[in-house]
Symmetry: C2
Subunit: 115 residues, 2 copies
DNA sequence: GCAATATATACCGTCAAACGAATGTAGTGT
DNA sequence: ACACTACATTCGTTTGACGGTATATATTGC
């Protein structure tokens, strides 16, 4: 994966927030990511498709739901980039409370699962 | 600095290559970056201006030359992102030989300086 | 078959980023 | 003053990304 392609993917707030949520929670379905980010469902779906085409995430269907996760074969340096970003976001950022929004989602299809 | 702003800056090959060269060599002037990347001088200058406005690099003039460096007050997480990228680039990437191109530049205004 | 939910895709308008090329500015030396 | 080098800026154009909206597909249950 070319560095510039990774960074182009991370340059969009919705995509980055989804990736950071996946990094923290391990596996989430589209409706959970939609709720946590507050974005519209078609947007989340399109952004996740981009991340999938880039090899950043993998998906698996389970009934009605499609669960996404950080791609298990993600290059180490790319994972380090994500982790460094997560550390910076924890300190000061508008994305810091996405996890809280997720926790308050009613009718969550999945119990919390950690990486 | 917002994560998405950093990643937007890193999503351009010329900007990323300049940053990685500065990370490795400490301080370089525009003509050195122009030579190492093979880009046109106005492009390099414009991209460096963007990086400066974002707070990613700082500059200082010395005679005819303007030397750029990674901004000394760069947030730790952003520096980690750059270092992780440098590690990934060393393994496999089209930017890996920028440093060699720089070393072969004739009439380099500065002796090699390391961070 | 139908209905309902979750997800994906298609179409369109808009706006920002990037490039090429030309020009402008700053500093040095004569 | 001039010439030369290094660097910066401007302009015009084009391309691609994004959001909004509507619609399509997939799966489950009746």
């Amino acid at each position: 994966m070319r560095p510039t392609d990774l960074f182009a993917a991370l340059a969009n707030a919705t995509r980055l927030r989804c990736l950071l949520l996946l990094l923290r929670h391990g596996e989430l379905c589209v409706c959970e990511l939609t709720h946590a980010t507050g974005a519209l469902q078609p947007h989340v779906s399109r952004h996740l498709a981009q991340l999938r085409e880039l090899g950043l995430v993998s998906d698996r269907r389970e009934g009605l739901w499609v669960y996404y996760r950080i791609h298990p074969a993600l290059p180490a340096w790319a994972l380090h980039v994500l982790e460094a970003t997560a550390a910076g976001v924890r300190a000061q950022s508008p994305f810091a409370d996405d996890a809280e929004a997720l926790a308050q989602m009613p009718n969550r299809p999945s119990a919390p699962r950690c990486a």
